[in-house]
Symmetry: C2
């Protein structure tokens, strides 16, 4: 399949992930299968390579992640920012075996309670209550009905640094935001109004588009990344 | 078609291009058709939105473009960097009606010989002879057999700023770099060793991958963007 070959080619010609991240991918897949969770929730290898590159490109020091799952993307962020004065990664997920696994991983890697602070609980509530700070990257990758309240909280509490970005994953939701008719093969399995529904993502994208404070690009890579910054 | 709907959706939910860029797209299409050139050489609207966003994101001041055609991407770069102290755009293309059209456009917009310097001639020769400066973005979008000599010149003459990026367009060449068999519908029309051949791009991607000075991500959006920076 050409698409698959292109994907593998892109991975092979991008800077490889640090070994610890690479290895954690395999361990996460094992773990998820063992506890009956979906390993496909992790960002793919190429997306991790892109996010790590992006963090270095903008010189990110402080990253906030909503939706950590087994800690795969978190490890990538940690590797991107570590070693810098003031570097800081805030992770957040709801309690469960995946969160225990993520914390154990981040502890073993020497990050937990040093570079990394982990908040267990609802992402939006965490954003509403964590100590105010300005983050250079805020990665939204949890329940899709939480993106919009998360962004509103980010703006009202001023959690994004002047040159920082919000990166919202699954911003195209398998194309359903643009076409949810039967022409889209993913339409049959979609649950529009549910917590993972494309309708929430569409509402989020439209809020971003219409907000005069923001500028953004909806990058058609992976499952769509809405990359958002404060207009200067 | 779902893919087309997704593309239109992405354009509509990304920050719109400045009107002057938008309008120049339509004028370029007219012009190209009139003189028998291919308007499809321009980056598409969404890619222009992405490049403009990227330039602002990294706070680019100095941009160098190899392959300006009618000046569409050049106008986008100019709009991204204008107004900053020390802002500078260097354009380059071979002589021809498209170059006259590009220069006239950049003059009319008030950029030519102010923000913009235009070099007419071969891109690699231009890189070898232009006054040394450090650019934050170097956009490679001309003949594909020129990418590798261009990059070598950029490195040897130290033309990339410490936090700058080279953005190489068409880095996936319709997937041909990964699969040029008959399974790829573009295989029939490809001319591997020609100046636009995918073999040159593949060689470029491999040089980048194997160069210890560089780190990079091959972003699978548009026709593939190889985004490259100096390892810090
Ligand atoms: C797509 S996964 C995250 C994957 C991770 N970013 C990675 O790439 O490795 C989504 C995560 O969001 C979490 N989640 C679901 N509802 C949540 C909520 N209300 N607050 C915080 N996290 C939530 C899930 O438990 C799951 O681990
Ligand atoms: C794909 S087009 C550039 C499109 C433009 N960047 C845009 O997005 O609007 C490629 C251009 O490279 C130019 N070109 C071809 N060979 C060249 C060379 N040796 N040196 C410089 N430019 C060259 C062509 O004349 C053509 O205008």
């Amino acid at each position: 399949h050409v698409t698959e070959a292109v994907h593998e080619y892109s991975i092979a010609h991008s800077t490889p992930l640090p070994e610890v991240v690479e290895q954690h991918r395999a361990r996460s897949i094992d773990f998820a299968n063992r506890v009956g969770m979906d390993p496909g929730m992790m960002v793919n290898t190429l997306q991790a390579q892109f996010m790590l590159f992006l963090a270095k490109l903008i010189g990110a020091k402080k990253v906030l992640e909503v939706g950590t799952f087994t800690g795969y993307s978190a490890l990538a962020w940690a590797e991107a920012i570590k070693g810098q004065e003031g570097a800081k990664l805030v992770c957040c997920d709801i309690p469960g075996p995946h969160t225990e696994f993520a914390k154990a991983t981040l502890l073993e890697a020497g990050f937990l309670n040093k570079l990394v602070t982990f908040f267990e609980g609802d992402g939006v509530e965490t954003l509403q209550s964590l100590p105010v700070d300005q983050f250079d990257i805020i990665f939204l990758d949890a329940n899709k009905d939480g993106y919009l309240p998360a962004l509103k909280t980010i703006l009202s509490r001023n959690l994004l640094s002047a040159r920082g970005i919000v990166v919202a994953d699954n911003a195209l939701k398998q194309g359903l935001v643009a076409d949810a008719t039967d022409k889209n093969p993913h339409a049959a399995n979609s649950n529009p109004g549910g917590v993972m529904g494309y309708e929430h993502i569409d509402e989020f994208n439209k809020f971003v588009r219409d907000n005069e404070q923001l500028e953004q690009v909806l990058l058609p890579a992976f499952d769509g990344l809405n990359i958002i910054r404060l207009k200067q």
